[in-house]
Amino acid sequence: MSRLTDANIAIAYEIIGRYPRPKSALIPILHLAQEQDGYVAQDAMKHIAELVGVTPAEVFGTASFYEMFKFEPVGKYLLNICGTMSCALMGAEELMHHAEKRLGIKAGSTTPDGLITLEHAECQAACTEAPCLQVNYRYRFKMTPGELDTLIDDLAAGKLTDEIPAHGVLATVRQRIPAERGVGAVAPEKVNESPQWLDGKPAL
């Protein structure tokens, strides 16, 4: 696994076209690779390097900085339980202990059936709804151990496949800039003039 498919190459070029410099498209295209395979495969990184015009090492250098990119397959569902202050104050530690006991694994590992990867996450910006968690980056708020059990049962029974897409899929809608409406990206060194709407006057 796995270079980008033809359909994804087309999307990748569309994304690259929005930036004055191609390397800026790196993170969005890495997400595209993760969406395709569920993780960021080595061949995908080599392919992305070709598309963006950098070395594979640079691609891995950037990718390895960011927590969301996984370089090995993870479970079908990535369960991120927040453990930062607001959630911890409202019982996140207890929730994590319950999850570890229920799933029979420690945070950072995957259940033997490949269904769930459990992770300790940092603040997910839902602090008033503590304790919170994300399943493949979809929120669940004010979780109790009982609700966590129900969630795990539902995931195992395949009841949430419509609501929660596969790992790697973030937004299910992509930005599309119609050719006739877009201004287009120009390398900064090719622009010397003030924007047209300023009529040559200083902006500020």
């Binding site: 800026s24 839902a126 602090c127 008033t128 992509r174 003039e193």
Partner: protein
């Protein structure tokens, strides 16, 4: 009268002026139909009807303070760009991840068009020819809502070439991250946007306004800051400054979480509302859970030094909170009641910052990790007395000299105002120390007891249980 909405979890509306949350009551507030039906894009039309300089004057006159954490006035920030250097960029900071902060995600999920309109007004006024809207990687729904809104806005002629038939043309590009707290720092955000590891740049020379994205002048504004602009352009700076105080006009989004009866996100009147109002007021959180005693609270996100009940009557006003030894930061209050185990609570924050250190500056990379390790063994009951002094020593290598802390006359502590000295490029390093320093200076006896009793206690169990763990 307060109202909550199932479609906006956590948000609590009250009988107060609404600048950025006026559409939250509608379950379809994120659609262009609802937006246009509720005065949407009227601020943009008002802006396009006047020269760019007068839009800038309006924003300057309104003193719209940055809502990301530093509180720098947006109009002044725009004015720092050097003359006659083109192109200039706008980068929208939607990488909300400061512990306790929950507002930008709501604004992006519930009213994406308002943000887009704010971006357009900023670009028009400051001559910014391209806008990058950077949304935190983990926020799938926000990315989806903003992508949909941008597609709608392009189709309707509000974004792109010759907006509304004028000479004003700008692309707004949705960009999304992949999980790194430090990317919320503006120069790290720019690095990340260039496709690099998200590590902050040295300032000087890399002040974004002069030398930012691709080395060009770049304005980095927070989501909430830009969301204020459509209302401002529709209603004028006089109406804006009529709300709040002279130095902190308008409203602010504030999230109160932790041990209160009704945690929530509120749009409050800036500079007037006090912490006591927020924690105890019936229209806000309604008091501490189970009518417990308040022990301490974090007034402005995980990086902020803590306050005790002594500071409850301070208003939400930077010029008063700063001298008292903390900051308003990103509008995030975390409340701890008397059942809270202070060392364990401090550890949850220090662990966060140690984990999120990008590794560029040694004091943060090494010091943050050591703070976490030492504090962990204290919390787990295997620490020693020497560990407590060691925590201060490690912290002092990140922030030498006086570190700000909540003033507490009983303990003989006088507050040291910001900014303090630091040996790191950005605030992640000092932020790892802030909770340790606050907890240790304000509640040292709890640490000492922990060292003596050698017992692991949970941060605070949901129902005040004192059960320990087998592990």
């Amino acid at each position: 009268m307060t109202s909550t909405y199932a479609h906006a979890p956590g948000f609590v509306a009250g009988d107060r002026p609404k600048i950025v949350t006026s559409r939250f009551e509608f379950s379809d507030s994120y659609t262009i139909e609802r937006y246009l039906a509720t005065n949407g894009y009227a601020g943009l039309r008002a802006a396009l009807a006047q020269p760019a300089t007068s839009v800038h004057d309006e924003v300057k006159n309104a003193t719209v303070l940055g809502r990301g954490g530093a509180g720098f006035p947006a109009g002044t920030k725009w004015g720092l760009t050097p003359q006659e250097v083109w192109p200039r960029y706008l980068v929208v900071n939607g990488d909300e991840s400061e512990p306790g902060t929950y507002k930008d995600r709501l604004l992006m999920e519930r009213d994406p068009h308002q943000l887009i309109e704010g971006c357009l007004i900023a670009c028009y006024s400051a001559g910014l020819s391209r806008c990058f809207l950077y949304i935190r990687g983990e926020m799938a729904l926000a990315q989806e809502r903003v992508a949909t809104a941008l597609n709608e806005a392009y189709a309707a002629g509000y974004v792109g070439k010759n907006i509304l038939g004028s000479k004003f043309s700008v692309d707004i590009v949705l960009h999304w991250g992949a999980g790194a707290y430090v990317v919320g720092e503006e120069t790290a955000l720019i690095e990340s946007l260039e496709g690099n590891r998200g590590m902050p740049r040295l300032k000087p020379p890399f002040f974004p306004a002069a030398n930012g994205l691709y080395g060009q002048p770049t304005i980095v504004n927070n989501v909430e800051t830009l969301a204020n602009l459509p209302w401002l352009l529709c209603n004028g700076s006089e109406a804006y400054t009529a709300i709040g105080t002279k130095t902190s006009p308008g409203t602010r989004m504030v999230a109160v979480s932790g041990h209160v009866k009704r945690p929530g996100v509120f749009e409050i009147i800036n500079g007037v509302t006090t912490f006591r109002d927020l924690l105890y007021g019936e229209e806000f959180c309604g008091g501490i859970r189970n009518d417990n005693q308040l022990k301490a609270f974090v007034p402005g996100g995980g990086s902020a030094p803590w306050f005790t009940p002594d500071q409850l009557d301070l208003p939400f006003e930077a010029s008063q909170v700063g001298p008292a030894g903390s900051m308003l930061g990103s509008g995030a209050i975390m409340v701890m009641d008397h059942t809270t185990d202070i060392p364990a609570a401090a550890l949850t924050l220090t662990r966060f910052y140690a984990h999120e250190s990008c590794g560029k500056c040694t004091p943060c990379r090494e010091g943050g990790t050591w703070l976490e390790r030492i504090l962990t063994r204290v919390v787990e009951g295997t620490g020693t007395d020497a560990d407590l002094d060691q925590l201060i020593e490690v912290g002092s290598s990140i922030c030498p000299g006086d570190f700000p802390h909540a003033s507490n006359a009983d303990l003989g502590l006088a507050a040291v105002p910001f900014p303090y000295k630091m040996t790191t490029i950005c605030f992640v390093g000092p932020s790892a120390y802030a909770p340790v320093h606050s907890a240790l200076t304000l509640f040292r006896s709890e640490f000492e007891a922990r060292v003596t009793t050698r017992k692991r206690i949970p941060v605070t169990a949901v129902a005040n249980s004192t059960a320990g763990y087998a592990s």
